[in-house]
């Protein structure tokens, strides 16, 4: 079994109104000095098999075909 964590984040320059709202929430809680918050997504994926390089290329294909929208998002794949 291969375990991986995929992280999807908004590209620089793409407005993140949810991140802005979270910034407001943190500041309301009294956390000062929060310069910015960007909200993203995390996917924990378990794959059958032991071939880590095949898994990595499959995971990248999954990101490009579904998990990330490359118009607005970047992704990274970490095998655990």
């Amino acid at each position: 079994m291969i375990r991986a964590r995929i992280t999807v984040t908004l590209k620089n320059g793409v407005l993140d109104p949810q991140g802005k709202a979270i910034e407001g929430g943190l500041s309301a809680l009294g956390f000062s000095g929060v310069h910015s918050v960007r909200q993203g997504k995390v996917f924990d994926v378990e794959l059958d098999g032991v071939d880590r390089s095949a898994a990595e290329s499959d995971l990248k294909a999954m990101c490009e075909k579904l998990l990330a929208n490359l118009v607005i998002e970047n992704y990274s794949v970490d095998l655990l």
Partner: protein, 222 residues
Amino acid sequence: MKSAVVLLPGLNRDRDMIAALTKIAGTPPATVWQTDTSIPAVDLIVIPGGFSYGDYLRCGAIAARMPVMRAVAEAAHRGVRVLGVCNGFQILLEAGLLPGALMRNASLKFVCKEVMLEVVNADTVFTRGYAAGQAIRCPVAHHDGNYFADAQTLARLKGENRIAFRYAGGSNPNGSIEDIAAIVSEKGNVMGMMPHPENLIEAAHGGSDGRALFEGALDMVA
């Protein structure tokens, strides 16, 4: 002209769309289910609004990968007219049939109200029933209608006159870049829009500003 409406779990504007097409064309559209791998021979395919797959992952993301969308893409490449409204627009973007993305409204609020639209390009099959520069009323109802495209894509959309409608008179309800409400494909046969023209087609709706869009798409205008 024959039409078909694509059905997916979680859509909820399909009945409104079927009613509008039936009233305007005089005959009901065919319906196509998400697992269908072919679409009957029609001139217009419509993907209605709603919340396909509960908006999981991203609005329209799962729907865009269903088998029926491969058939929609093939039809679009053959030149069949395709109209995506609201969730339908999100699905067309996720399927790569139109460029850009629709993000959470800048206000973070669901908006359900009437806006004004300016007809930017009246030379598409969908907008030829209007005059360029004309302002029309149209309802909107969405949470993720904030259109985004990178600078290169935007320049291309403008250069190729592919912005069909803009929100007019300061009525942009969602923060869309350049007030974009609807865009068309390179060949002009695919249009995606956030507003709901199917909900303003007869007196009972309080107006019929949306009717000409369907008349154009169904070849019912001179």
